[in-house]
């Protein structure tokens, strides 16, 4: 009825190529933005921010990053946790070494640092492929976590080996530290998510994104038609690690505040982000958001139902979470390998014909 492209005439090429060619989609997008920027900051409270919104936004960035590498370029990485730790520790060193630096610069620099490390660990991808590479990225995961654990310079020789985010401000408002208000943190993360998602969406539509996808679909064939695999793979690693690094930095500075590297950036984190993009949809920016939302909401939901609703033991609820997450991964891979994003696209296709499907 209302979801139609009929009558929506495009008069320029730019309009024809826009991200949301259908008017309804465009308005929906503006509406989501309006709610996220105009309404949520005024009604947000600590519980919502800490339990759902902040982790969702931060993991969404990591999921977009991993999706660029795995979903678009086809290089499976199990080192996400390690790269997030690089972002976190870079931001920590910068925050403590240069107290005057503002948080946006720090976070972006952390991203760049992670990009450099990511490219270094991405170099072997030119020789090794598939799950050989997946296992090779485990080297990054374990080595980086060990490095941040064992070299005292990284945690400023603190006795506990933890790193704590000092208070830093942005436009006079505390963004990090215990005094930061939840709406400030929320808007800070939202700004990053908005800009980074916008960039990612446009990167993947452009020439570089097409190169990534060519490499993913068949790398030798891509090489023959003129895609430079060195450039394509390393840019994918760089961009992806940048996103993951920004996410890791935000997770530490804004969300957690204090971090012990093995616990916060261990291998489980790598899997968490990987599951997000499998469930959300490989090779889709929307999928990264959907997957992040799913994986953040699922434990909260289970805790509410099993522990609060039925009075079960928390440990039991955690075990159930494992079973459910594992089963979901397998079900999605069997039934819908393209994840929630594909289901969403199917729903939209159906909606275009509704209510007269013939």
């Amino acid at each position: 009825m209302f979801y139609r492209e009929a009558g929506d005439f495009k008069t320029t090429y730019a309009k024809d190529n826009q991200t949301f060619p259908i008017a309804f989609d465009r308005y929906r997008y503006y509406f989501v933005l309006f709610v996220a920027i105009g309404i949520v900051p005024f009604v947000i409270n600590d519980y919502w921010a800490n339990a759902i919104l902040l982790p969702f936004l931060i993991y969404a960035i990591a999921a977009i990053g991993l999706n660029i590498l795995t979903g678009y370029c086809g290089q499976v990485s199990l080192g996400t946790g390690g790269f997030m730790a690089v972002g976190a520790y870079t931001s920590y060193k910068l925050m403590t070494a240069f107290p005057g630096l503002d948080m946006v610069t720090i976070t972006l620099l952390s991203g760049f640092m992670t990009a450099i490390v990511g490219v270094m660990f991405g170099l072997p991808s030119l020789r090794i492929k598939g799950f050989y590479l997946a296992v090779a990225t485990l080297a990054a995961q374990f080595f980086l976590v060990w490095l941040f654990n064992k070299v005292p310079w990284f945690y400023n020789y603190s006795a506990s080996g933890q790193i704590n985010a000092p208070e830093r401000t942005m436009f006079g408002m505390a963004v990090t530290g215990p005094n930061a208000e939840s709406w400030v943190k929320y808007l800070f993360c939202l700004a990053f998510v908005f800009v980074l998602a916008w960039i990612a969406r446009n990167l993947t539509r452009g020439s570089i994104g097409r190169q990534w996808m060519a490499i993913r679909d068949m790398d030798i064939a891509a090489e023959i038609i003129g895609v430079n695999p060195l450039k394509a793979k390393l840019t994918a690693f760089a961009v992806s690690s940048f996103y993951v690094g920004v996410s890791g930095a935000l997770l530490f500075t804004v969300y957690l505040g204090a971090v012990e590297v093995g616990e916060a950036y261990g291998i489980t984190k790598s899997f968490l982000v990987l599951f997000m993009i499998i469930i959300g949809g490989l090779g889709s920016i929307f999928g990264a958001f959907a997957g992040a939302a799913f994986m953040v909401l699922l434990p909260v939901l289970l805790r509410n139902i099993l522990t609060d609703g039925m009075g079960w033991d928390t440990a039991l609820a955690t075990h159930f979470e494992f079973v459910i997450v594992g089963a979901m991964i397998m079900i999605f891979l069997i039934v819908e390998p393209h994840g929630l994003a594909r289901l969403w696209a199917l729903a939209k296709e159906k909606l275009r014909l509704w209510p007269f499907p013939h």
Binding site: R127, F131, K150, G326, L333
Partner: protein, 328 residues
């Protein structure tokens, strides 16, 4: 003989023993990978699950006691009997075969023909699933596993080396047993693959799925067979690791080390798994012994992976793997 050299020899020997343990886990990977092209990430969790099940059956624990108690409000934990080790092992083997049937029927039969990387990610899901099931069935506490294998320092080796070098080597009896059992297991597997009808079918499937299918070999049956065999190998690995350091979650992380072992040895080769395991075991023990103290220790967490990574850059198919040929 200089003292350092003697120490290094002891470290090397112990590294070899650890390497055998890695090889045991890696064997399970190779079995499944050869027959079905599935790179089974869940092998480590299978070892954990098998060991947990074994302890649970031995102690006569009630499976799913936690949930039953929560839902029904009862307070049951034990059946009140103890099962002898041998019978418990047999029952666990049955459970692992049941698991193989389940995996094949509900998961991998529906994923036939998918890309290898999709299959790999499915096994990561399987690993999570199985870990959750294991926790639900038997709880997540650390359990002691004792199937009657001798433990502690081997006195003979201690004395002999003391007479030769003036310093007694510390070699655990359990490690010696593990080495022996691993050797028997490998010999058994190779004999099974070479001389039995099922083994021939297994090799045929590993060679060429479609050709095997066309001469009347049931792929489904062979896949269930290899998953069962992998389950049994996982049980053996679980018993060894479990007797050594208790049955706990870290078991599945140790088992992750089988991955670099495989990358070194090649995914398709049983001797490769053994040699790779030994190289990794000795390499990380010597590295930790020589370089470890200089850079803060605990290097065994990552050394295996970095070694495999560096190695792969020069030889992507591993030591004994089949040459990778790509066609467009």
């Amino acid at each position: 003989m200089p003292e350092q050299l003697v120490f290094a020899m002891e470290v090397t020997l112990n590294g070899l023993m650890t390497g055998v343990m890695y090889s045991l886990v890696a064997l399970g990977f190779v079995l499944i990978f050869k027959a079905s092209g599935i790179f089974n990430y869940a092998q480590g969790v299978m070892a954990l699950f098998a060991a947990m099940t074994l302890v649970g059956i031995q102690d006569g624990r009630v499976p799913f006691a936690h949930i039953i108690n929560e839902v029904l409000g009862t307070d049951i934990h034990y059946f009140g009997w103890e099962v002898p080790a041998l019978l418990a092992i047999l029952l666990t083997v049955l459970v692992m075969i049941g698991f193989a049937l389940f995996v094949q029927k509900f998961i991998f039969r529906h994923l036939v023909g998918q890309e290898p990387i999709i299959l790999f990610m499915a096994t990561i899901g399987l690993a999570y699933f199985l870990e959750g099931v294991s926790d639900l069935m038997w709880g997540s506490e650390i359990r002691n596993l004792d199937v009657g294998l001798p433990q502690g320092i081997n006195d003979t080796i201690d004395q002999v080396t003391f007479e030769i070098f003036g310093y007694g080597f510390f070699i655990d009896n359990l490690d010696l047993w593990a080495t022996g059992i691993a050797a028997v297991l490998v010999a058994g597997l190779i004999a099974y693959a070479q001389y039995t009808k099922n083994g021939r079918a297994m090799r045929a499937v590993a060679d060429d799925h479609q050709a095997a299918l066309s001469v009347g070999i049931s792929l489904n049956y062979v896949w269930i067979l290899v998953w069962s065999l992998a389950g049994i190998v996982a049980l053996v690995a679980g018993i060894m690791w479990g007797s050594k350091s208790g049955v706990q979650f870290s078991l599945s992380l140790i088992a992750l080390k089988a991955l670099p072992v495989l990358m070194l040895g090649g995914f398709t080769s049983i001797p490769g798994a053994i040699v790779g395991g030994l190289i990794i075991g000795v390499g990380e023990a010597l590295f930790e012994f020589s370089i470890g103290p200089l850079i803060g220790g605990a290097t065994e967490n990552w050394f295996a992976y970095v070694l495999a990574l560096v190695f792969l850059v020069f030889r992507p198919q591993g030591l004994f793997g089949e040459k990778i040929i790509e066609r467009v």
